[in-house]
């Protein structure tokens, strides 16, 4: 049980924590069933890859551009489907994520299943510099440690920002929409606009998560952004608890420790079987949690209304 293994668990937990913060904002605080989060993550990550590799942008400039593009995509998705009933909206967003995956697999600009390579030189330089500093503490041997630090610093910063936002009037309007959309509209609030903002922020968070996924796997290919990963996010959300940003951090850590921990026990299984087993575990997580403790570990049962 090496330290590198647990550093990797931490990196995944941080990345999916950022990813799930967006779902918490949508499902937990606005009552929006966004099932297309993996699609926004893919758009963010591929925008970075394409801007850097094909257009020679700097990685650090490509990040905000990618966040913007993901927001733009969310506006298109939102304007067209936010007026739908919540179950139809969920289906429309899952279709969106599937369209994104399908396009990435088949279009020429995304490199198809070959993917995109060679966008992370600047990150590797920065990471090397950080490693040399960490070497002073005797930690220079852990190559993923800089990524872990950056991911968790970003996660904590975003978490605090979202908690702050939730305490403002804006955050209260979102919760009012979750509880009773018509009453909120009757108070003169533009419900569609608030929902769009909520979705846009979630897409931005997904794009940031996509940026870190890209740095972590060093190579972009469509299966990393399979629509199924949205439901890893929901498993984390249910585990941590509804309407609790702090719960996302705990949920993500527990989720990835358990999931990656399965790699340590079942040494007798083939790699394919191990991968299948991980997805079965996620499925059982979702089934058991929705049955036994739908509000999650830290959630508040009074805060989990989703409009029919």
């Amino acid at each position: 049980m090496s330290v590198d293994f647990w550093i990797n668990v931490g990196v995944l937990a941080g990345i999916y924590g950022i990813f799930t913060l967006g779902l918490q904002l949508n499902a937990g605080f606005t009552g929006l069933l966004n099932f297309g989060q993996a699609g926004f993550m893919a758009i963010g990550a591929y925008s970075i890859g394409i801007l850097v590799v094909d257009h020679g942008w700097s990685l650090w400039l490509a990040l905000p551009a990618a966040v913007l593009l993901a927001c733009l995509a969310s506006v298109v998705v939102g304007i067209s489907s936010l007026r739908l009933r919540s179950d139809h909206f969920a289906i429309a967003t899952i279709a969106f994520a599937e369209i994104v995956r399908y396009t990435l697999q088949n279009a020429a600009f995304s490199g198809g299943n070959q993917g995109i390579l060679g966008f992370d030189d600047e990150w590797r330089a920065a990471s090397g510099w950080m490693l040399s500093k960490l070497g002073a503490f005797g930690l220079g041997g852990y190559t993923q440690l800089p990524l872990l630090l950056v991911v968790w610093l970003s996660f904590v910063a975003l978490l605090l920002a979202l908690q702050g936002l939730q305490r403002t009037g804006w955050g209260r309007v979102l919760r009012a929409i979750r509880e009773d959309e018509d009453a909120t509209a009757a108070l003169g609030k533009n419900v569609l606009s608030y929902k769009l903002q909520s979705l846009g922020l979630a897409a931005a968070l997904a794009a940031i998560a996509g940026f870190f996924v890209a740095l972590n796997v060093t190579y972009l290919y469509p299966t990393v952004f399979d629509p199924t990963f949205t439901f890893f996010g929901y498993a984390i959300l249910v585990l941590g608890g509804f309407a609790s940003y702090g719960g996302v951090a705990i949920g993500s850590l527990v989720f990835w420790a358990l999931l990656e921990g399965t790699r340590l026990i079942d040494a007798s299984l083939s790699a394919g079987q191990q991968a299948s087993l991980r997805f079965i575990i996620v499925g059982l997580f979702l089934l058991l949690l929705s049955r036994l403790r739908p509000q999650g570990l830290l959630g508040n049962v009074n805060e989990m209304k989703v409009r029919p």
Binding site: E98, Y102, Y234, F279, L287
Partner: protein, 339 residues
């Protein structure tokens, strides 16, 4: 809809609206058939008769498994108000049960029949261990959604765990083909087409004339009214799962037969086409799902005349989104009354 509003006695009004709706429904079907015929002629003029006819035959094959798969989805949605995201994985289970039974030594047709029964049993088991307890606990929308997705993951990856993720076939002869003049149709595809169309006809008749078929449609249409008229709720629900699982198994087998090779992931992509057929036909409308399935199948195959065939599933997604946006009540649906 275009009838001029006149004041009548309420009984006469009801009669008239009943007649009107009976008239409206076939006439919309006529319009739909006419539109499809016009599209066919246009395509034939642009791309030649033979390629268009070939695509149309392929479209009927795709339409039969889409339609049969969508019936279960629409019945469960209409009767239980449950968006069953695991339905695509029931189709996957049907295909892989066939492989399992054939591997155990059953001849292929028997293995297929066994697979349909096994998928129906699987669907009933999910009702007993997942859905019935959740209903009793009065679970919310999100709980139901996440349970459906969790169940789908468990089914799909259990299949993958035992069967592997590599591409498989049902082990039948995929090379033989029949020539109908200039058209070519794989023997297996021909069988799939005939079985699919026959099954659609049978299902349609069963829904129309058997007691349980009528009860299911009544339930999907208006649950409260069906309950006060003395229909046994749990019996209808059990039968709905059995029918939905059996047809999902059949659809999965037809898909596997027609496509030839597949892996355990075909469920999710196909699910979106099934949703499209469901929305197209009007949620809860089993006939609508059959017609919707045919429309989706034909549209997807016709699109291959214009675009590369690899974009075929994208046509299903696009139709799904367009339908949700512009006609969420479906082709045959009326605007939702307060329920």
């Amino acid at each position: 809809m275009s009838a001029t509003p006149t004041v009548r006695a309420s009984a006469a009004e009801d009669d008239a609206s009943a007649v009107r709706s009976r008239l409206a429904s076939p006439s919309r079907l006529t319009v739909l058939v006419a539109v499809m015929a016009v599209v066919f002629c246009l395509l034939a003029a642009l791309f030649g008769l033979v390629p268009t006819a070939q695509a149309t035959i392929n479209g009927f094959v795709a339409g039969s498994y889409t339609g049969l798969g969508a019936i279960g989805l629409t019945l469960v949605l209409g009767i239980l108000k449950l968006v069953n995201f695991a339905h695509g994985d029931l189709l996957v289970a049907g295909a892989y049960f066939t492989i399992l039974f054939a591997w155990l030594g059953l001849p292929l047709p028997l293995a297929m029949l066994g697979a349909m029964v096994a998928t129906a049993a699987l669907a009933l088991v999910t009702e007993k261990i997942v859905w019935q307890p959740l209903r009793q606990a009065k679970a919310g929308t999100l709980q139901l959604f996440l349970s459906a997705i969790g169940l789908g993951l468990v089914i799909r990856f259990s299949v993958q765990f035992f069967a592997g993720s590599q591409v498989r076939t049902l082990g039948a002869n995929v090379v033989d083909s029949i020539a109908l003049g200039p058209l070519r149709l794989g023997t297996l595809q021909a069988v799939a087409l005939l079985v699919g169309l026959a099954a659609m006809l049978l299902v349609g008749l069963a829904l129309r004339f058997t007691g349980i078929g009528k009860e299911m449609r009544a339930f999907a249409d208006n649950r409260a009214l069906a309950e006060v008229s003395g229909i046994d709720t749990q019996h209808v629900i059990n039968m709905t799962w059995i029918v939905s699982g059996f047809l999902a198994g059949l659809a999965g087998i037809l898909y596997a037969t027609a496509i030839g090779s597949f892996n355990p992931n075909f469920g999710l992509t196909l699910l979106l086409s099934l949703f499209a057929a469901t929305v197209l036909g009007g949620i809860g409308n089993a006939y609508g799902a059959l017609v919707g399935g045919l429309v989706i199948g034909l549209s997807q195959e016709w699109s291959t005349l214009m675009f590369n065939a690899r974009w075929k599933p994208a046509v299903g997604f696009a139709l799904l989104i367009l339908m949700l946006l512009f006609m969420p009540q479906g082709i045959f649906g009326r605007k939702k009354r307060g329920s």
